[in-house]
Symmetry: C2
Subunit: 343 residues, 2 copies
DNA sequence: GGGCCAGATGTTATCCGTAACATTGAGGCT
DNA sequence: AGCCTCAATGTTACGGATAACATCTGGCCC
């Protein structure tokens, strides 16, 4: 009943030839019936469909892709880590848009490491994806080269770039940090500290630092020493708590963390030692994670359009695959969210 | 310089033939040099490697998979939603284990819908993955049939099953709920309510309900009416808050939510109306998300081994692909985490 | 020096769908 | 009736890497 049982065959799944035999037509007719039904006589179409159901046929995308005549319908998404809710949100947005069009997301985690990103680009390219979604806009020459030569559409996300590889969706991390820093100053804080993750591995952290420093310069306020914190992975509450003393030692009256997680960790630590937040110490975060709403006082933070980034990236990818018109670049606004952790 | 420029070619990437030409050998020698270097003379190997670097060659997995002679190195993971941190954790665990072995995770979100899961199984099967990781242990006959016929190793996760498709990694949701319910009773609560997500779409929620009811029966305590809540998607704080009045109307002195998010929503709502938690009302959650540690009072909850599930699923998959010995079934313990939201 | 062996490399067939071209047959027109 | 047309279906070649088998080469032994 299955042609594949005649000869040794790796897969137990029926082939198109099996369907053809069951329907009493040739393989090509089955192919047409599946992908261009209008070209097949109604009666034949019905028989082919019955045969597909009967055999439990699942098309082999691989063969079509190899022939270069059909697409893999795979879109690769490279994010630093799925652990961080913001990137998970972006991936969700992406797959929400792509899913209904028959595209599937293949996920890779770079762990914020450039070399790992390169390795993943090469590894994923081996599967001939139809498009790439990448996080950030800085990459190694090798990565850029591979992507360019592959001719695959690429969307870079989470930042803006004057020299994008192809398409970009993001917001200005520098402006966001700038806006928050000015907000803190406007609320009367004068010694505003800045704490971010390890900036060497993360261009976005560096941009935020620039925005922070620029705002203070504009306002004539002092830039406090920036402590190093944690590992280049997922921020933890403990790291935020641990950095508190070092910052207070510099006489800070406000701390701007580039992660809500650090900020909440510091907030809890501050409360534990009886500090008045927001009176004696203002605390601000970044990302507007669920925990920012839940702590008391609520955390002042910057809402970033994580989900929206994924949605727009998906739209751009679809457009570039179907030839539809769509701008190469989209800037999405961030939003400052004042809560009670600042005056 | 590129053989692919001679004739129309979909991809701009170099082929193995291009490498062969650059190295002055045949394609087969390149193939061997890449996948079984010991069979190639050292000098040739060096030339091939130089040629690979020079041309920027990236292997085409697709071709190898089609020939049925090499593996796709794709592992498909189907989860309800990436939004929920627990499933994201599982996926991280999975890809941590598989990544170093050259396997990549292709992610699908079922949105807790059975028909969507079936559609995804078929769609992903079309890419000939080497293994499947699925969430839950109940699936449609069609899904089971497809998976079985494909002969692909399957790991079902997050629950236990007496009739697994292949391999299972999970814990007993029933026992976990049972343990929490007994704990609440032991702390002196007598009218213990249970609130979960929509159980029709989620076998795990149903199992927990069974555990809750069993514990109360054993203890001779009343089973309170179980309110319906929310949509079958990601739990929100608002939904937890909204359900509070209905539960209190039944005279509950403790509420066991099957999600920390609901529990925290209710906790904040209870505090807003001046209720004494844990004195007048005990609140317990499920999953031990970061917010459970952050709220005040800290949320009593059940820690589930989300990350560990992914790790073990990855190990089982590797074992079944390499023929290594590994049990078909793993039961991972949950942990009750008492905090201050219960007496 | 002839023959043999083993290591290194080359040749061929194959995996499964699909585009392009080929063939068949029914109906319409003069 | 003969011929043409077009819709429906069939046939052939191809994509890129790989296993199996074929060939070649140099070194060793008697």
């Amino acid at each position: 009943m299955n042609a594949s049982s005649d000869k040794p065959n790796a897969s137990a799944l029926p082939r198109m030839a099996d369907v053809a035999k069951a329907a009493g037509v040739t393989q090509m007719t089955v192919s047409r019936a599946l992908r261009d039904p209008a070209k097949v006589a109604p009666g034949t179409l019905a028989r082919v469909r019955a045969a597909v159901a009967e055999t439990g046929y699942v098309p082999n995308v691989v063969a079509g892709v190899l022939s270069g005549r059909s697409r893999s319908r795979i879109v690769t998404a490279l994010i630093p880590t799925i652990q961080h809710a913001i990137f998970a949100d972006t991936v969700t947005g992406l797959s929400e848009v792509l899913g209904p069009h028959g595209y599937h997301v293949m996920l890779g985690e770079t762990g914020y490491r450039r070399d790992e990103e390169d390795a993943l680009i090469a590894a994923f390219l081996a599967h001939r994806p139809d498009a790439f979604m990448l996080t950030g806009v800085t990459r190694s020459p090798r990565g850029r080269d591979l992507l360019r030569r592959s001719g695959v559409p690429v969307v870079e996300t989470w930042e803006l770039s004057r020299t994008p590889l192809d398409m970009v969706v993001g917001y200005s991390n520098e402006d966001a940090a700038h806006a928050m820093t000015r907000y803190l100053a406007q609320r009367g804080y004068r010694r505003i500290a800045f704490v971010s993750g390890p900036s060497r591995t993360n261009e976005r952290a560096r941009r935020r630092e620039l925005g922070y420093a620029r705002a203070l310069r504009e306002l004539g306020l002092p830039v406090l020493p920036i402590p190093t914190i944690g590992a280049p992975s997922v921020p933890t509450l403990e790291e935020g708590a641990a950095v508190l003393d070092a910052v207070l030692a510099h006489g800070a009256d406000a701390i701007f963390f580039t992660s809500d997680v650090y900020a909440v960790g510091a907030l809890l630590a501050a409360q534990a030692r009886g500090l008045d937040v927001p009176g004696a110490l203002g605390i601000a975060g970044f990302h507007d994670l669920p925990i920012a709403r839940v702590v008391s006082p609520g955390l002042t933070t910057v809402h970033v359009p994580a989900h929206e980034i994924g949605v727009l990236a998906g739209r751009k990818i679809l457009a570039s695959l179907t030839g539809a018109a769509e701008p190469k670049k989209s800037v999405i606004p961030f939003t400052l969210v004042p809560r009670q952790s600042t005056r």
